[in-house]
Amino acid sequence: MTVLQPLDTHASVCPRASLIFDQVTFSYQGKHLLGPCSFTLQGAGPTLVMGPNGAGKSLLLRLAHGLLAPASGSVQWLPQRPRQAMVFQQPVMLRRSAIANLIHALAVNKTPRRQRQQLAEAALERFGLSRLARTPARVLSGGEQQRLALARAWVLAPQVLFLDEPTSALDPAAIKAVEEAVLAFQRQGTRVVMTTHDIHQARRLAADVLFMANGQLLEYTPATQFFHQPESSGARAYLRGELVE
């Protein structure tokens, strides 16, 4: 992959926003699924949200990004809601060419019309997709689609980027490309919050870890501490490879 250059419109010049979860719960069709959950997202990240399947990692991310509203409690950004983007496990691609997907995002973002083409082309190049610019996005491979989803997030120059299991369906080469992209976002000051169930991936990327099990947040600790001396018994068992409920 090409080396990622910082965007000029970048986030690092903006004051860092902090995210506050206060007694947040979520339920669906009468079933309690998450919380109550309280924490304040701090530091520069990347923050990795870890835990077994069904722990509520994706829910936490969707609540943070505002795709879901909490049943009770509050999700708050201070001092104000930052520009943010999200990359999903299954990338959602419009039925248009790769570059048209980026231009659409730029149009939604109210980028002046004459800059869109150039920004989109630059992003495609950064993510090694230039030769696929005119290809319909939905016939790209899984790895290419995920890179395109990252390029779409890139053109939005988000201050916060959420990624929900972005590599779970990819092969090792594609996983490497996604992880490099995550670090590139991080380098240019985007606050990265990402879920994974891959402990090795978390070790490679994490500055701190939110560990969840069974809809509860069990701990929020720096990565070095989490991988050596986790606070919760749930995390200790998870890291030992035991099955955690």
């Binding site: 983007a85 419009l94 039925r95 939905r138």
Partner: protein, 234 residues
């Protein structure tokens, strides 16, 4: 039997020689139905997308009404438009009754529910897939409608062809509001009815062949568009 096969050969010669009366009728049919379908699409597609997108009280009723109106009997549509446009009706002043414009209105009434109901379905399927991405991008409803309609373009083209098929093959409504006036409001379907009852089978058969061909071409086009879209957009 001999008379019938004779009628068929005369019908074919009318077609081959592009008989003036026949061509006029075919052209008027196409003009009326194409205009009706275009107008219906301008209203029906955004309406379908809006119903797919918004959750409001009574939405279920709107969906059921649109679906039910897809089967609206043409003569009922004709009657309603007739009552609206007749001299004593609320729109009587416009003087539209027994003009091609009245036939366009009647066909819009027939086709609009088809376009709105089917596009609502297609857009709703697409929205289920796109919704989280849309919310994540912070899109306005208007932008969502634009995006959904464009991304459903191949499906909507098929819907459009279905609407055109219904409009061009329908006889009851245009007969009532058009009056089947020679050279003014006589279209393929109404001519076939009239010419058959007069015993002028060659013209009726000739028009029947054109109509049948048109329907075949429309369906072939719909099929090809669907196949091409599947291969192209995955």
């Amino acid at each position: 039997m001999a008379a019938d096969s004779n009628a068929l050969s005369v019908a074919l010669s009318l077609l081959i020689n592009l008989d003036a009366a026949l061509v006029d009728i075919v052209l008027l049919s196409l003009q009326v139905s194409l205009l009706a379908v275009c107008l219906a699409a301008l209203i029906g597609f955004p309406l379908g997308a809006a119903v797919a997108l918004w959750r409001f009280p009574g939405r279920g009723l709107v969906v059921v009404a649109l679906n039910a109106l897809m089967g609206l009997p043409p003569v009922v549509a004709g009657l309603v438009v007739y009552l609206l446009l007749s001299r004593a009706g609320p729109l009587g002043e416009w003087g539209l009754l027994f003009t091609p414009n009245a036939m366009v209105i009647a066909q819009v009434v027939l086709v609009l529910p088809i376009l709105a109901a089917l596009s609502r379905q297609k857009v709703e399927e697409l929205l289920a897939e796109y919704q989280e991405q849309f919310v994540s991008l912070g899109m306005s409803r208007l932008r969502m409608i634009q995006t959904l309609l464009w991304d459903a373009r191949f499906a909507l083209l098929t819907v459009l062809l279905a609407g055109f098929g219904r409009a061009s093959a329908e006889v009851g409504a245009v007969m009532m509001v058009g009056g089947n006036i020679d050279g003014v409001t006589r279209v393929m379907t109404t001519s076939i009815v009239l010419e058959t009852s007069k015993g002028n089978l060659p013209l009726a058969l000739g028009l029947g062949i054109v109509l049948l061909t048109l329907v075949l071409v429309i369906n072939a086009a719909a099929y090809l568009v669907g196949e091409w879209a599947r291969r192209r957009t995955g």
